[in-house]
Symmetry: C2
Subunit: 200 residues, 2 copies
């Protein structure tokens, strides 16, 4: 049994390898054997960290969710337009982020019939919704969001938008250029709630 | 070999049984053996119509897409507000339609790594987009949609909305009541493009 720090690091490494496998080759590629090969471990090592395929799918989802969450936080640093910036952080604007969309799609398909995974999906969504609500509240204080707006409702609509765009962009990247993705967010903000937007 | 008419009818029956299996028990339940049991046929009969599991997944998607398409057309008959009506037809407002969402999610997860299925997914999306564009054009003629609006772009945004709501409603039906789903469509139409809405 390795030390705790090695244990965590190795588990993380295997999870990232598994996430790459799903992004590159789809959910069908996610087997203990292929993960072990790609990670350079024996299947025994992989099985030590992940009980089964379902556990691996959950781990890949957590890797993608953590990346998404980190991008969200980074986007808020020094942003002239924090609302646009944090929502763009959730869009598949580049290929790296598009890979994460494939992980969501794989997870959703499994979670739909698995109450525990569905609960995890819902918890992540509600967490993202709260974080967007906080940004909306900050913008409301700055006079950029109409008062009287239910911010938690608006936050959910914005998540619907970025997840809807993410899904469609996966199948039609020719149409869903980064510019069109950003414009969709800007239009939604303008339509739903915003008094005036920063120009920065 | 049965007559053509029986052949088609039996294939359709097996596809519907497969779609029900996915809706009730998830993609994991979709095996030739379980479909055969549920359809009351031998696995040989099922294998005669569907080459493999991928072929079955595609068939379930087509069943759901055909149902969705029929609802879209039916919604337009005598509608006071055809735009709202046809978009509502694509939302999981009741449990029957919510079952179809599970089929989409299963199909998307497979299509993401399968160019032929991805092409079919894209073709369905573009077809739905054209049909929404046609409804938008009719509403523009009636003076209900701003002129100068790129209707095909707006149609894509509306599809993003209904698919985004459909996905989220799957995991949080408590929030996404039929009323909230309808309101999301109404707000999106008001925000994106509409001069005035019918009150009917």
């Amino acid at each position: 049994m390795p030390k705790q720090v090695d244990h965590d690091a190795r588990r993380d490494q295997v999870a990232r390898v598994a996430a790459d496998l799903v992004a590159d080759h789809g959910l069908g590629a996610l087997t203990v054997r292929r993960v072990a090969e790609a990670a350079g471990h024996s299947t025994t090592v992989v099985s030590h960290y992940f009980a089964d395929r379902r556990d691996l799918v959950r781990a890949t989802y957590r890797v993608a969710a953590a990346r998404s969450s980190a991008r969200f936080d980074a986007a808020l640093v020094d942003a002239d337009d924090p609302l646009q910036a944090c929502l763009e952080a959730l869009l598949p604007l580049d290929l790296e982020r598009a890979r994460d969309v494939r992980t969501w799609l794989a997870f959703w398909a499994m979670a739909v019939d698995d109450p525990e995974l569905a609960a995890e999906q819902d918890a992540r969504v509600q967490s993202a919704r709260r974080r967007i609500t906080d940004v909306l509240a900050g913008e409301q204080e700055r006079g950029r969001v109409r008062s009287g707006t239910d911010l938690a409702d608006v936050a959910y609509r914005l998540l619907v938008l970025v997840h809807g765009v993410g899904t469609h962009a996966e199948f039609d990247r020719g149409y869903w250029t980064p510019g069109r993705q950003r414009q969709a967010v800007a239009d939604e903000l303008a339509g739903l709630l915003v008094v005036r937007r920063a120009t920065g």
